[in-house]
Symmetry: C2
Subunit: 895 residues, 2 copies
């Protein structure tokens, strides 16, 4: 086991061992780029230290060996009195955890070497300022002393000298500060600040190891689902100094614009500063282009290096660099984060530049990014005033009047007002308000908070954890940074995609990407920008690559039409219950109240022509494409008034002596049909078997509509789907009735409808007995919503608001199983049903029509499970197409 | 393929091919017993006929061959004019379907052979009576003529002769009747009654084939779950005549008393009669013992034959026989049906007689029979008057006032009256009444009717399909056979084990078998009868044989004590929610209404000592045995008032200006906690994670109770069980809290409780991820009730009354999956979880605590699945013990 790697021994693929930072420093070293010399202590060493409490015995000697090499390379020795080698000791795990772990700079400075540094650099003030920094950083990080003690000392000195900035302190001030800092250390630890440079190094390395388990790092990992046992690597790098006067400085840069993907020079530069100062924002930075004037040689060298890196990494890179008295040093690089728009644009640029092929370009974008691009956005041209920025918890752009509680939200919303519900955090009590609001804004909690989970579940825009806001519910107002006050009723706008909160109403613009999908924007036209052209190119490639077909869930001709424009190759789920709503409820009430067979049949007869017309419209919109029609699924009482509301109304009317006969009758029926657990009640195929004629009426309407549409020259392709089947015998029973009706209609219309009969697989038992169900079913459509509910034994309506946020926080879920398919449980059932169904009927058609059909991760699973298609809401069709294409790149199909 | 078997070619193991009757006739023939010669046409021939509409071509020649042999054996020819061979053509499938299919006797009689028969027998009247019988039977069975036409003719003739009985008709009368019968045949078919004996035979065989598919046979098979495609065999047997005067007769007999098992002579005999007359009850039969005086030779021969049969079949047999002028003929035998009590007694008798071994004796009794013996019974000594007999749909003995609708049942029951709900049939609307009633009686529907299914689900006594009752709901009375009228409010008694309905109140006696299990009756004492001794012997053997341990579900010390006396080796499920009921509801309300952590903790603190005391009692009752305690499972709102009731109360109070503050607060909480699907809501482990301190309080109570009991010298063995786990991480989360509490209590009490932590497996996902759950769980207990609900996606409360009866009727269920485990779906998950759990933790303890733990069929499955124990209600413990013993006889464990 090797615990220490010289930079020249590593490469970028060793992230797990060397951390992201260390691996990339090694890579740049081997590319011949100017990286300060150094070495990396592996994550394995850290893991051993954390597990056993001591370093592996080999670690000390290995560090000594590499330190010796470092000393040889630099011609200096660590902390040597006359010309000291100083090192930075930096943390860095395999995954980026920005600011979560510790770093100690200037290790090697002591009471004697500080003098040597001053002499060598010819800069007394610089040397003592560096020593001041080391003691502060070492004391807080390594020795665990509260930083406030040092701030007090420093502030006192500045006060004494009548200066607000540390620039106002001279060498003598800094010497006094160092002495005072050393007193603080002595006072809190009982020991002097260590004067042995090797002891400093050893202690710093241990402190970095230990910082892996600091509470904030643990919390961060938990939230980001980073395993807790990876450990951090430690880079030990020779210090270079950007703070050695005017010819020195530090900066950060991107190889392309991470916001738009545009090529050019993007970055910031700060003269006479260390990298820490750039990030801390103590002084205003300069645009990187200014460096061309300040130090043209370094500037052009940096541009060259950035071009080299982009070619080497074949992607947008960001870098950190320091110029020490005219010498450029690269301190970090990595593949840079970017916006969704930039991801598409850059992928196509790199493709055009020949750096990557089309498959790789497709891998570089995600369905989540595409979905972000499809949301309406605040008009970036508008001069909107940002109040604060929170976490982007549920995408979208929403504007409304601020309200501070749920009843107010409901009241104002019912009056037609758009509202934004603002809370410190939401609880299940806020559910009604969240439903009524355009958007939700909270000051506490992250992406797994109650507000975030519920809002995502409802598709409501949400910004959460906007910690700068002080929310005064009693005072009906909130206060933002700079004392900006927003009173209840005033307008704000929130961007759930960026986390921004704006004062007032911000104009919303429609996404050009949606215009493109709608066919309203030709990607070849001049009006289409680079983004739309890029989306078009990658969608085209995804369509060419994907094996999974994409259908849409749509119940109306309008939605069906949109789905078709968005690229759906059929309807995977047309819910017929929507055809029982609105004015038609009264017919359902008649059906339920019927106490004779004749009354029931009469009620069904009235519904028949209504359903038929709905189907004719649907078939017309989907001319030539399959339309999977699900027969009635929900329990009948779902179409009736709410029990409690009705019971109170009837009780009050009786109390007042004004009972309404119909209400009383209806209350009886509602009570009779009431179910403790309607999700687990008389619905789906059970209803079809229990209410004679109901499914028959629906199938008759389908057959008649098909005949009508066929005569009108439309190519109709209905598929009849039975919901909630748990046993083959149920399907068999219903199939007999359906066949009889189709025979009758064939005789009556002269047109025989050969509609495949299939079933939802949405109960565990259906999956477990898929083989026998496949004897009757010609297709399966996995209803992943219900299958998730029954496999886990929870109902989305009841639990998402009650304990999901806690489960996400505790890490019990990595993601809500209603957003991303639970592969281990639900996925296992799907794979099993697919395999056993196909074993019985090799041409069994397999699809999925739950909401997971439009979820990127889930689409990859469905591809692997060998399904034929996914079906999702029309708006998610492009996302599914893209991800289906990406899934096809991953390799062969199989569990 | 051979379609016809001579009796000498068959044996009793060929039931599938020859039918039960044919196979046993063959067996008796080969035993050398006096069976009239004959042959059997196979079920295969029937199946071919039913499938293709024609007999297999080989059938005719084969029948001819066997008929020829029969003629040779008897020295007669079929329908020969001077001395005719007559045959009986009898149906008989593999399973007994009494009276459901057809039989034609006296085939071979014609206008000429009737004269020959008269001459040979020297009995004109007998010959013409036989011919009359043939035409009637042939016409109705083979030709499909309504029997009423013949009854009319016959009745007219009796009227003419002024006689009420057919004995009053002489030869001339019967000749006139035959002529008139032939006219009826001619009139309805356009043809003469066939005078070709072979044509009669061919047509009779076809008619028997066809009777397999008669509506009543199909209905019967459906109800009894006999496959529809087996077909019937047809026996063709030389006729023997019990109606040839005083030296002839027919009878039925049992080798032992089928009611009690007592040895002796049991049966009925009717002189000068055919078997049909015995069954029809035209004349009063004589006790079989009378035959000893009438025909000692035949009597003793019969006793010998019965002893031979019992030895041969090694079981109780019943027989049908005919004596023709002093010659005894055996017409049928089979292993006889018997009561539950007789089953136990006979099994032990046969064991003592050396006919069977102890394993076989155990195979001869069932858990269902044992359960029947444990119900309280009507005192058989009481001179109860039977009103009618219906179907025994749900066992038990109930007495109460007759009521004819559900509201009346509820009203009278709330007033403290015991009622029997009497309906033509029940519907979901009758549910409240069924709950309120002691018993349910219906005049329509079988064992899968709504009334039967729901009553069995509730454990309520039920007799259904008592078709003789005329129920007049409007007139509030019922009329039974003989015009007996029972008005609403009058007492009746129903026996759900026998189907009997008695007038008035019948005294109920406690079962001596329960006294035995309770330890109140020593099986070795003289007070214990043969039944109790037999039960004891077979239970002892079952206990010796079984591998499955039996525990009980019990929440109170009282139930725990009973369970222990009944043989439970521990508690498999102690539900703690029962400890939150009664007076303690107010503490739960306080817990729910608490809006601060302190308030919540205070409410929990009050519950702690109450729970602790409950546990101390439970541990004391189960000293030395394991007690599996399930932490709180139901949603908290289950302890609060019903939403609708409370909402109406509050609305009315507000209307009246008298609002109650606590009610208003409570209504808020109830609304907040309301769940659309509580079964799928915030319960079980979710509640434990969502309500901090709740599970901790329960575990603390367990630990403190264990310490208290241990100090009192009690050997406590609690096991802590977490309900509703769906993911390993949930259990892991809770395990950490539990360990912390146990550590605290160990420190506080000085007694460390090492309680195994385990989980219910009651969600499909738990079964599917059992491997990872077993990393934390030391035991699994399969909650088959919830697992059935989630696997099928239906809730017992909601669906049992709404569509189960239809599903049972349609054959979608063979049995309610809540009564008998659904092996194909739920069982597959159990087997999978058992295998994958044990793969991770080989010593994983596996049990089941759903109601299936006490169901005979299910116990066999649990044995095969390799579980360690079943747990069921205390009363079912003996049933589970017995069936676990029987299961162990079936062979090795394995899926």
């Amino acid at each position: 086991m090797k615990y220490v790697y010289a930079f020249s021994e590593g490469n970028k693929d060793l992230k797990d061992l060397l951390g992201g930072k260390g691996a990339n420093l090694a890579e740049m070293t081997n590319m011949g780029l100017p990286v300060p010399p150094g070495f990396v202590i592996t994550t394995e060493a850290c893991r051993t230290y954390l597990r056993t409490g001591v370093e592996p015995p080999e670690l000390g000697p290995e560090i000594d060996k590499h330190l010796a090499a470092l000393e040889a390379a630099t011609g200096r020795r660590l902390g040597q009195a006359d010309d000291p080698l100083l090192v930075a000791v930096r943390s860095g795990g395999a995954s980026s955890m920005p600011g979560m772990m510790e770093t100690v700079l200037d290790v090697g400075l002591t009471d004697s070497s500080v003098l040597g540094l001053a002499r060598v650099t010819g800069d007394d003030r610089f040397a003592w300022d560096s020593y001041r920094r080391l003691i502060h950083m070492f004391a807080t990080t390594v020795l665990g002393i509260d930083g406030a003690h040092f701030d007090t000392v420093f502030d006192e000195r500045k006060h004494l000298r009548g200066t607000a900035s540390d620039v106002g302190l001279d060498t003598r001030d800094l010497q006094a500060v160092v002495a005072a800092f050393q007193d603080v250390v002595r006072e809190h630890t009982g020991h002097d600040f260590p004067q042995d440079p090797h002891e400093q190094l050893t202690m710093a390395v241990r402190a970095v190891f230990a910082s892996w388990n600091s509470p904030r790092a643990a919390t961060y990992r938990h939230r980001e689902h980073i395993p807790a046992d990876l450990g951090t690597a430690v880079s030990v790098v020779a210090m270079v100094f950007g703070n050695l006067g005017a010819g020195s400085g530090s900066g950060v840069a991107f190889t392309r614009d991470p916001a738009t993907g545009e090529k050019g020079v993007y970055g910031d530069y700060l003269e006479n500063a260390q990298g820490e100062d750039v990030v801390a924002g103590i002084r205003n930075t300069l645009p990187l282009t200014e460096l061309e004037h300040l130090d043209p040689r370094s500037y052009h060298r940096l541009r060259e290096i950035m071009a080299t890196l982009e070619h080497h990494y074949r992607d947008l890179c960001d870098v950190e660099f320091t110029i020490e008295r005219g010498t450029l040093w690269m301190l970090q690089t990595r593949v840079g984060k970017r916006t969704a728009a930039a991801a598409f644009v850059i992928a196509c640029q790199l493709l055009d530049e020949g750096l990557i092929d089309a498959d790789e370009a497709l891998r570089r974008v995600t369905g989540d990014q595409l979905a972000q691009l499809m949301f309406p956005r605040f008009d970036s041209a508008a001069a909107a005033k940002v109040l604060t920025v929170g976490m982007n918890a549920s995408p979208g752009a929403a504007t409304g009047a601020v309200v501070f509680d749920s009843p107010t939200a409901v009241a104002r919303a019912s009056a037609g007002e758009r509202v934004i519900l603002v809370r410190n955090e939401t609880t299940p009590d806020d559910l009604d308000g969240m439903i009524a609001a355009q958007g939700v804004l909270t000051s506490r909690g992250g992406r797994t908070s109650h507000a975030a989970v519920v809002a995502r579940g409802m598709g409501t825009t949400c910004v959460c954890g906007a910690e700068e806001l002080d929310i005064d519910v009693a005072g009906r107002r909130l206060t933002g940074p700079g004392g900006v006050v927003v009173a209840e009723g005033e307008l704000i706008s929130i961007d759930g995609g960026t986390g921004e909160v704006f004062l007032g109403e911000v104009p919303v613009v429609r996404s050009p990407v949606v215009d493109y999908f709608e066919g309203a924007l030709d990607p070849g036209s001049p009006q289409a920008g680079e983004l739309v052209r890029s989306v078009h190119r990658l969608m085209t490639h995804a369509d060419a690559r994907r094996r999974l077909e994409v259908r849409a869930n749509a119940d109306t001709a309008e939605n069906a039409g949109r789905a078709r424009r968005f690229g759906a190759k059929g309807i995977g789920l047309a819910r017929t219950e929507h055809m029982f709503l609105g004015d038609r409820r009264e017919h359902v009430e008649r059906l339920v109240l019927a106490d004779t067979d004749a009354g029931r049949d009469a009620a069904l007869a009235v519904l028949l022509p209504l359903q038929r017309n709905d189907f004719v419209e649907l078939f017309s919109a989907m001319d030539g494409l399959p339309v999977t029609i699900r027969l009635l699924d929900p329990p009948l009482h779902e179409f009736l008034p709410d029990l409690t509301t009705l019971a109170v109304r009837v009780a009050l009317a009786q109390e007042r002596g004004t009972p309404v006969e119909r209400d009383v009758a209806l209350l009886g029926a509602v009570r009779r049909l009431h179910e403790e657990n309607p999700m687990l009640g008389l619905r789906g195929v059970r209803l079809g078997i229990a209410v004679p004629g109901l499914f028959g009426m629906q199938v008759r309407a389908i057959a008649q509509a098909a005949a009508t549409a066929t005569r009108a020259g439309i190519d109709v392709r209905p598929e009849i789907m039975i919901p909630l089947v748990g046993a083959a015998a149920e399907l068999h029973d219903v199939a007999a009735e359906i066949t009889a009706v189709l025979d009758e209609e064939a005789a009556a219309t002269g047109i025989r409808l050969d509609a495949p009969l299939g079933t939802m697989i949405e109960l565990p038992r259906a999956a477990l007995t898929a083989g026998s169900i496949a004897e009757t079913a010609r297709f399966f459509s996995f209803g992943t919503n219900d299958l998730t509910q029954t496999t886990w034994g929870f109902s989305r309506d009841d639990v998402e608001g009650s304990f999901f946020s806690r489960y996400l926080d505790h890490g019990i879920f990595a993601a809500s199983p209603f957003e991303t398919l639970d592969v281990e449980g639900v996925g296992r059932l799907i794979a099993l049903a697919a395999t056993e169904g196909r074993a019985v009927r090799p041409d069994l058609q397999l699809g999925v029509c739950g909401e997971h059909g439009g979820d990127p991760d889930s689409v990859h699973f469905f591809h692997r499970a060998g399904l034929d298609y996914v079906s999702c809401s029309p708006f998610r069709v492009p996302v599914a197409r893209l991800e289906a294409g990406r899934a096809a790149l991953s390799g062969p199909v199989g569990p």
